[in-house]
Symmetry: C2
Subunit: 127 residues, 2 copies
C-alpha cells in the first residue's frame, strides 16, 4: 500500500463525515454511505477510516463509550459527551496547552500531549 489511489468509496465516507456535526461510529457511517453505495462493505469503511486517520484527514474520537467515533475536523479540539442522550459535541476552542505544563511539573517523566473528554448535558437535553 504505497501510493494511494482514488476511490469513490473513500470520497463518500469523507462526504458523510463532512456533512455532520455528530461524531458517527464506523457502523453509522456505513449505514449512511450505503444510501449512496448500497453494496459498500463494512470492511471498506473501517479500512478507509483507518487510512484517513493516519493521514490526519479525520480524527478518531475515543469518548470512553467502548466504540470509536470519527470526526471530519482534524483540528485538535475537545469533546463533550452528553450523559443524557450520548451525543458528542465539539468544544470549539484550542486545547489547553497549560495543562501539559502543569502535568509536567508533577510527573517524573515527560509529557507530550493530553486527551480530554468532558461529560455534561448538551444544549438540546438541557431544557
Amino acid at each position: 500500500m504505497n501510493v494511494s489511489k482514488h476511490s469513490k468509496q473513500r470520497d463518500a465516507i469523507l462526504e458523510v463525515l463532512h456533512s455532520t456535526k455528530a461524531h458517527p461510529t464506523a457502523d453509522a457511517i456505513y449505514e449512511e454511505v450505503r444510501k449512496k453505495i448500497p453494496n459498500i462493505s463494512l470492511g471498506t469503511v473501517y479500512r478507509n477510516l483507518a487510512k484517513l486517520s493516519e493521514d490526519n484527514t479525520i480524527i478518531k474520537v475515543n469518548a470512553g463509550t467502548g466504540v470509536e467515533h470519527f470526526d471530519g475536523t482534524p483540528t485538535p479540539h475537545y469533546h463533550v459527551v452528553c450523559t443524557e442522550c450520548g451525543a458528542i459535541d465539539d468544544i470549539d476552542a484550542d486545547p489547553l496547552e497549560e495543562v501539559n505544563v502543569w502535568a509536567a511539573k508533577i510527573f517524573k517523566g515527560e509529557i507530550y500531549k493530553h486527551s480530554t473528554i468532558f461529560f455534561g448535558k448538551c444544549e438540546r437535553c438541557k431544557n
Copy 2:
C-alpha cells in the same frame, strides 16, 4: 443481586489491585489471581471488577488502548500513558477543576466533569 455476599475471589482481586501501582487489565488480574486461586474463572474476575467499579471501590481506566485497565485507588486522579512502553502511571494530584469552568464558558450546555489521559514518556523509559 441485592445484598452482596463475601467471596474470597473478590478479596483476592482487590488484593492484587492494592499490591501494584501498575494498572492491570482484567486479563492480567486474572493471571495474577490464579496464582492464589488457580481455578478462578475469568468471568468471575470481570463480574467482580464491574461490581467494585460500581461501588467506587476501584476505578476503570480507559487509557485509549482499547482495553480496560483497573486502578485500586478510587480517588480521582489523572494518568499518563507511556508512548514507549505502554505503562500507565498516576499523576498524584487532584484533577483541575478550573478546566471544567473553562469548558463551561464555551460549551452551550452543562459541564459536569472531565476525564484526561496524558501521553508521554515514563521515568523508566526517559533514560
